[in-house]
Each structure stands twice: as structure tokens, then as C-alpha cells.
């Protein structure tokens, strides 16, 4: 009896030894900040006794959230990333899927070269990718502009698609490689049976291959959507080139901007709202797809 409880005690110590090196910093640097942001977003800071009075922080309920949700800046920044997510994520997913299906066909030569070429942008830092594309698209420095294509890709309504292009350029290839890996995991007998029944390449791709890699497509799609909703690096770089990108262009930029003027509670409310929207969008998207596949 004593022996057993001693062993259980020791088992607990072992578990603590293995888990705490990760979970202690995880709680400190991940969970802690989230909780702190949630608490902060319910507070307000006021000056008591005129301009030179002391600052007092107190519980303010939903005051900050009301300020966020009634702010035109917040909605316009949110609508930009939502629009981008609604267009860029499916387009990039479709392109990546097309490339994966093409690479999967046995007649392709140089498959190894293409896989490497497609993957290489993934190794490029986001800052560098944005600097590169920014310079390539800025009419003052663009070789494309000088070659005679007089389109200002960083002006007016073209800025947002240009930002989407940077994200697509960085991740389309690695998504294609992920899809390709999923396709390779499908047993080839499945296609051979269909081929004997007279199905062509297109038919096999549409009716067999795509449904089989569907979970992978959905999973990467959700990760891409999360990335776009949190966009900050690319627009921050573009902001140094074009005035079209405002300081609150995306929700994350808005939060950063509020924080840099010491409006921490408002910044926290923006961040938490964005987190809630991200969660809701991810789960909503999953539920929608599940229901459709059942129905």
C-alpha cells in the first residue's frame, strides 16, 4: 500500500518534471497575457482633478468594447482583412490545389525542381517579401512600370490586392507541397479502379483526389484565414512606401497604434474582439463545411 502511493507520488514528480519546462513559460508568456488582456479590456483610466490630476484606473465594464464597436476605424480595418480573407484564401487555396494536382501527375518532368521553386518563398522573411514586392510594384522603382506597364499597384483600390499578392506569393507554394504530401498518401489502387472504369484525369481529380484531401484543404484554409485576419507585417512595410496604407489599416495595426499612444485598454479590447472574431470564424467555417458534407 505504502509502496503504491510512493510510486504514484514519484509518477507525479516525473510528470511535473517533463511538463513544467514547457508549461510554465507557456502560462507566463501565452495564457497569462491573454488573461491580462481580457482583464485590461474591461478597465478605464481617468484623470481625477483636471489635466494635471492623477490617473485612476477602475472597472469600466464594456466601455472599451462599446468604443471599439462604434468606431468607424475599427470596422473599416476589419472589413479590409475580412474581404482579403474571403478572396485571397480561397484563390490561393485553389491555385495551391491545382499546382499539387499537376505535380502529382506522373508525366511531369523536373518535379523536384518545381517543388523546390514553389517552396522557396516560405523561407523568405515576411519583411523581406514585403520589401521586395513593394519595390517591384512602386512606380518609382518598379522594373515592371519601367517596362511600360503603367499601373500604380500601390495606389487606390489596388493596394489591398497587392498586399494579398505578397501573402499568396509567400504561402501558395508551401500549401501546394502540403496538398501534394496528402495526395501521395492516397493508395494508388483507388485511382486504378476508377481508370479501369473509364474515368479520365479530370474526373479522377474531381471525384476521388479532392474529396480525399479535403480535411487537409480545410485545415490549411483555416490557418491561412487566421493569418490574414491578423495581418500586420506586410501592411506595415507598405506603409513606408505608400500613403494609401493608413496607420489603422488592419485591426492589429489599429491595436498597435492605440498601444503606442498609451491607450492600452482600448488596444486590449481591439485585440480581444479580433481574437473572438477569429475563433468564431474558424469554428463557424468548420461547422458549415461539416454540415454541408453531411447533407
Amino acid at each position: 500500500m505504502a509502496e503504491r502511493s510512493f510510486r504514484r507520488q514519484r509518477g507525479r514528480l516525473v510528470g511535473l518534471g517533463f511538463l513544467s519546462p514547457f508549461f510554465v513559460p507557456f502560462v507566463l508568456f501565452y495564457i497569462g497575457p491573454v488573461v491580462y488582456a481580457a482583464v485590461q479590456s474591461t478597465e478605464v483610466t481617468q484623470r481625477v482633478g483636471g489635466i494635471f490630476g492623477t490617473e485612476v484606473t477602475r472597472f469600466g465594464g464594456v466601455t472599451q468594447y462599446a468604443a471599439v464597436l462604434t468606431s468607424g476605424d475599427f470596422w473599416s480595418s476589419l472589413s479590409r482583412v475580412v474581404l482579403l480573407a474571403a478572396v485571397q484564401v480561397p484563390v490561393m487555396g485553389a491555385v495551391a490545389l491545382l499546382l499539387a494536382l499537376l505535380l502529382d501527375s506522373p508525366r511531369v518532368k523536373l518535379g523536384r525542381f518545381f517543388r523546390l521553386a514553389y517552396f522557396l518563398p516560405f523561407a523568405v522573411p515576411g519583411v523581406v517579401a514585403a520589401i521586395m514586392w513593394g519595390t517591384l510594384l512602386d512606380p518609382n522603382t518598379s522594373p515592371i512600370y519601367q517596362a511600360g506597364l503603367h499601373v500604380d499597384f500601390l495606389g487606390g483600390s489596388l493596394v489591398l490586392p497587392s498586399i494579398g499578392n505578397v501573402a499568396s506569393w509567400t504561402f501558395a507554394g508551401s500549401n501546394a507541397i502540403i496538398f501534394l504530401a496528402a495526395l501521395k498518401a492516397v493508395p494508388p489502387q483507388l485511382f486504378e479502379a476508377a481508370r479501369i472504369d473509364g474515368a479520365g484525369d479530370l474526373r479522377i481529380a474531381w471525384s476521388i483526389k479532392i474529396p480525399l484531401v479535403r480535411p487537409t484543404i480545410i485545415f490549411t484554409g483555416i490557418l491561412n484565414m487566421i493569418g490574414v485576419l491578423q495581418l500586420i507585417t506586410e501592411p506595415m512595410i507598405f506603409r513606408t512606401i505608400t500613403s494609401e496604407v493608413t496607420s489603422g489599416y488592419t485591426p492589429n495595426m489599429l491595436a498597435y497604434n492605440a498601444a503606442s499612444t498609451n491607450q492600452y485598454q482600448y488596444a486590449a479590447a481591439v485585440s480581444v474582439t479580433l481574437a473572438v472574431i477569429t475563433f468564431a470564424a474558424s469554428f463557424g467555417f468548420l461547422r458549415l463545411l461539416q454540415r454541408r458534407s453531411e447533407g
Binding site: G126, V127, V128, P215, I232, T240, A255
Partner: protein
């Protein structure tokens, strides 16, 4: 035939900007915006590198060193911590195991501002802002690394070996360091590679945490230079050359370590 044409067009889309970057890094300041961007005009790479590393008392070399420290040390610590937790989650059953694992996975969805903004406030109270620790400490936590490590431990460490070692009287930590970690080594190389790239490329954390130029990582330094480039066209070319220099080591690593990132991507795709 048409298949190869489509594949080649996309290869062009992915490679041409990088080709442009490499070509432009060899050009003179005056030729930068006036000659064909996709072809060479003279070869001045060495002069340009000298200009890059000479500018502002050689600050760029310092930035590269900082990047190497943040990414090298941070990814190493992240890999060690992830491997312990991933192994334990894979090989030991205990109450709350799946709960812990879903929290780790769910944390991928949290926006960077939710983490970094409050972290900045906490760190400024602890006087950690504007130090190496401000970037290093948060970098050692890698939920994706735990996820990968758990899969690698599941697939590469047979439970029979662990049990045999226990019968021989080895303690759990000894089994982990002498047997399990070695068996997981190829997988851990993948965790390290992905961690290294994530830290090397990080932007938001340095943006919030660092004020002194001396502490900047290379990519963040480039952002700071890009901000000045509008006023000073000389810096414009330095930004391009610096981008080339900051990217080349990562691309070389990816070309050399293909086996590992492919394993990581394949597993990342599984749900």
C-alpha cells in the same frame, strides 16, 4: 505539355522576385532604378556588401548576429522544451492529457497582439523591455513544436524499448535523454528548423519590445531602414542588399535540409 507550361509559369512567379533581388544586389546605386531590373549591369556585389556592412558603424553585422542569437538560442530552447512535453504527452497517459493538448493547439489561433501587447506591459514592469530577454523569452514557447514532437515521439519511439529500459532500472529522465531523444532526433531537427525560421522572421515582438538599434534583429533593422529610405535614396539600395543578405542563409538552410522541412509540412497537414 500544357501541364508543364502551367507549372513553369508559376515557377516564374515564385522565383522571379528572388532573381530580381539577387540581380539588384549586384548593381550600382545609379543603375538600380534605371536599368532592366531582371538583368545584370556590371557586377558590384562586393562593393555593395562593403557599403552595407560599413553603413552606420557596421550596424548591419550586429543585427545579423542578433538574429542568429535570437533564432539560434531561442529555437534550441524551444526544441528542448517541446520535445520533453511532446514525448510525455505521447507516451504517458494521465488525467487531463487531451485537455492540455487541445489548449496547446488552440493557442495557435490567438492573435499576436493579444499576446504581445500585454506581454509588453508586463515586461516593462519587470524592466525586461529593450533587452535580449524581451525577444528571447517569448520565443522559447512553441505550441507547434509540441504538436510536432508529440507526433514524432508517437511514430519513432517504440513503447517496448521504454519498458525494457524501465525493467533494466533506468529512470524516466535517463530513458528520455539517452534513448527517446536520440530516436526523435530527425524529427527534432524539423522542430528546430521551423522554430529557427519563425524567430528569424518575427516582426511584431521586436516592434513592441525593442528601442535600441543595437538589439534589433536583421529583418526588423531592414524595416527601420525602409522607413528612412524615402528621404535617403542611398539607403534604398542598402535595404535591397540587406534583404538579400538576411534571406540567403535561410534559403541555404532550406536547400540543405529538404528532408526535414518536408517531414514537418507533411505532418503539419495531418489533422
Amino acid at each position: 505539355m500544357i501541364v508543364c507550361v502551367i507549372l513553369a509559369v508559376f515557377a516564374g512567379y515564385f522565383l522571379l522576385p528572388l532573381w530580381w533581388l539577387g540581380v539588384t544586389a549586384t548593381k550600382r546605386q545609379g543603375d538600380f532604378a534605371t536599368t532592366n531590373g531582371f538583368w545584370f549591369s556590371g557586377f558590384h556585389l562586393v562593393e555593395n556588401l562593403r557599403a552595407l556592412f560599413g553603413y552606420g558603424d557596421g550596424i548591419f553585422a550586429r543585427w545579423l548576429l542578433n538574429s542568429a542569437i535570437y533564432a539560434g538560442v531561442g529555437a534550441l530552447a524551444a526544441t528542448v522544451l517541446s520535445s520533453m512535453t511532446g514525448y510525455y504527452l505521447a507516451k504517458f497517459s494521465f488525467r487531463g492529457r487531451s485537455f492540455l493538448f487541445s489548449i496547446v493547439l488552440g493557442s495557435v489561433m490567438v492573435p499576436s497582439t493579444v499576446l504581445a501587447l500585454p506581454l509588453f506591459l508586463v515586461f516593462s514592469k519587470a524592466h525586461l523591455v529593450d533587452t535580449y530577454w524581451a525577444v528571447l523569452l517569448p520565443s522559447i514557447v512553441s505550441p507547434f513544436g509540441v504538436y510536432l514532437s508529440r507526433i514524432f515521439a508517437d511514430s519513432s519511439v517504440p513503447t517496448e524499448i521504454i519498458e525494457a529500459a524501465r525493467v533494466d532500472g533506468a529512470g524516466e529522465f535517463r530513458i528520455f535523454t539517452t534513448i527517446a531523444q536520440r530516436l526523435m532526433l530527425p524529427g527534432l531537427a524539423t522542430v528546430y528548423l521551423f522554430g529557427f525560421v519563425a524567430i528569424w522572421n518575427s516582426f511584431f515582438l521586436p516592434l513592441l519590445m525593442l528601442q535600441s538599434q543595437d538589439l534589433y534583429p536583421a529583418t526588423f533593422g531592414l524595416y527601420a531602414w525602409k522607413g528612412q529610405a524615402q528621404m535617403d535614396p542611398h539607403v534604398q539600395l542598402l535595404v535591397v542588399i540587406g534583404s538579400f543578405v538576411a534571406t540567403a542563409p535561410l534559403m541555404a538552410a532550406f536547400l540543405a535540409l529538404q528532408r526535414y522541412w518536408r517531414a514537418g509540412l507533411t505532418l503539419g497537414a495531418l489533422d
